[in-house]
């Protein structure tokens, strides 16, 4: 079953390259909906029957490569499936426009490749395989980011790609150190046999640095705003909602499966927490002072990703298991709701650009009148980002705050409180422009109905996920990682 999640998008990618015109869009939509259904079925299966682990080619763990689907991977797979399906639907009218037509072939095949590789990243169970998949993700993401063809976007894509490549190299060196210590590449075997030692410390350090370079944590955030700000709107949605989550997911796997017995993680965790805190405040502040909608959303990604890194000190230095679980769930929840909200925001920004030709905030004046659905989408996604009830963002931040207070690391509480205020600042900055009466006829071009709907559906999902917290918590606590029942805590 998990195999299909990789096979279907890759087949669709080949078809999208060969076919033309309407057939290509049909193949892409078919591939997207099949992948979506396969993800949903897999999620249902894992929810009911527990984590799945399969060996590819009939070769078992120390030698062969496996795919493993547990609660954590299923949640990220579902996020990918929902965002992927909506972005695909959005892109059919988007890439049938006059200017975008020649790009359609490259976009569709690269995007399907990216989807397949993201799926296989979320199913990864082998450290070297993780490296190959990371490279596949980086190349296809950078190629997508460069599709706009402007000098700024090419520069941004190359900057992203060089950072990602350096990150991959650090990761691969870490793989070497792990292999030198444990003599195996399987994540779960390393986790149960690895232990401590200077080699593992080196591996942990290299892999962590490599992955936070890719997920744009505070000192390595420099590539993100231009890359996400300059790409085509659906590409920005994919990059910020899914690609960043991919490297974050791998970081979780590395820390909590590969290095689960290691005492090293405890010492390093506070550093990540501090960096996360800085990222929340700095990213949100930068978002406030931007004047272009897409740049605001891109800087906001830095801030929102910062929350995720609070997970490490909270989980690893807290004594009480219940609060560990709370923090763990909160951050994964935050990742999912941020992914949905951010994708929706970027798609809405794409609508705005299509309507007015620019994403300058001033051009947004009076869009509440001409593009009511897009305005509504911006508001809904903004609610989730700010963390107002009953959105997914609210659940995440509420649980986060609770576990911070319970763990006694009060300085971390600055993140949800200050971050929330700053987030409210830039969301209101966007929304206030929408209701200012602007010059007549500023917004003239009509936006395809489907494109507005796709963005809205994602925003609604980011709100609705707040009502389905129980299932997510169940997946994250009872369905984690078959190799070590009970996950990382005793």
């Amino acid at each position: 079953m998990p195999e299909l999640l990789v096979l279907i998008p890759f087949t669709a990618a080949l078809l999208c390259f060969i076919l033309k015109g309407v057939l290509r869009s049909l193949a892409a939509l078919l591939g997207a909906s099949l992948t979506f259904s396969a993800s949903a079925l897999l999620a249902a299966d894992v929810y009911q029957n527990g984590a799945i682990r399969i060996s590819l080619g009939g070769w078992d763990a120390p030698l062969g490569i496996g795919l493993s689907a547990d609660g954590l991977s299923v949640i990220f797979l579902l996020l990918t499936a929902i965002v992927g399906l909506m972005v695909s639907i959005y892109c059919v009218p988007f890439f049938s426009g006059l200017h975008e037509q020649p790009l359609a072939r490259h976009f569709w095949s690269l995007w399907m490749f990216l989807w397949g590789s993201l799926n296989s990243l979320f199913l990864v169970s082998d450290v070297f395989n993780a490296y190959v998949v990371l490279e596949l993700v980086s190349i296809s993401a950078a190629a997508l980011a460069a599709l706009s063809g402007t000098a700024a976007s090419l520069r941004a894509a190359l900057r992203y790609f060089l950072t990602a490549m350096a990150g991959s190299m650090a990761f691969l060196l870490g793989v070497g150190f792990i292999y030198a210590q444990a003599g195996t590449l399987d994540m779960f075997l390393v986790g149960s046999s690895g232990g401590d030692g200077p080699l593992m410390a080196m591996a942990l350090g290299l892999m962590t640095v490599g992955l936070i370079m890719k997920s744009a944590l505070f000192p390595f955030h420099f590539w993100l705003p231009p890359a996400h700000g300059e790409a085509k709107a659906p590409v920005s949605a994919i990059l910020s909602a899914l690609v960043m989550k991919g490297s974050f997911f791998l970081l979780l796997r590395i820390w909590f499966n590969v290095f689960q017995d290691s005492s090293l993680t405890v010492h390093a965790a506070s550093v990540l927490g501090f960096l996360g805190l800085f990222a929340v405040i700095w990213g949100s502040y930068q978002a406030i002072i931007q004047s272009r909608l897409k740049l605001i959303i891109a800087y906001s990604s830095i801030g929102q990703m910062g929350y995720l890194f609070l997970l490490f000190p909270l989980v690893l230095t807290t004594v009480d298991a219940a609060w560990k679980i709370e923090a763990w769930t909160a951050c994964v929840f935050q990742a999912v709701s941020h992914g949905l909200a951010k994708a929706s925001l970027f798609l809405a920004a794409g609508n705005l650009i299509q309507a007015s030709g620019t994403d300058n905030l001033r051009s947004m004046r009076n869009i509440a009148g001409s593009l009511p659905m897009t305005t509504f989408t911006l508001a809904l996604a903004g609610i989730s980002l700010m963390g107002l009830p009953p959105s997914g963002g609210f659940v995440a931040k509420w649980m986060l705050l609770q576990s911070i207070l319970a763990s006694g690391q009060w300085w971390l509480a600055a993140a949800p409180i200050l971050g929330g205020l700053l987030t409210a600042g830039y969301i209101f900055k966007i929304l206030s422009q929408a209701f200012v009466p602007g010059a007549e006829g500023a917004c003239c071009k009509p936006v395809c109905f489907v494109m507005e709907k796709a963005a809205l559906v994602l925003a609604i999902f980011s709100i609705l996920i707040g009502f389905r917290a129980e299932e997510v918590i169940f997946l994250l606590t009872d369905r984690i990682c078959a190799a070590n029942p009970g996950g990382f805590w005793p």
Binding site: A151, R155, M169, N360
Partner: protein, 105 residues
Amino acid sequence: MNSLLIYSITATSLFTIGLMGLAAHPNLIRKIISLNIMAGGVFLFLISLAYHPDDPGVDPVPQAMVLTGIVVTISATAFALCLARRITEITGSSRLEDKPEDTDS
């Protein structure tokens, strides 16, 4: 002092030198070359782990990993070089430094 040690220390030095070049050079080609040096270091480290001079022979798994890695690296290099050349074609500059473009007004 044995071969494993010599080659793995060489490898880590190469990695660091490459990293330094990547961070220090403004020119795009030089950055990409530095990435290749980093990759060479990583591969050398993996192979030095695979090497056992006498008894069981050479470990094929790191060898396969490095072969995979070489092909991945050359694809990434070609892609990055293409991006770099396109940037030079459009802007006339082969650097990555920011020229803040005023898109506000």
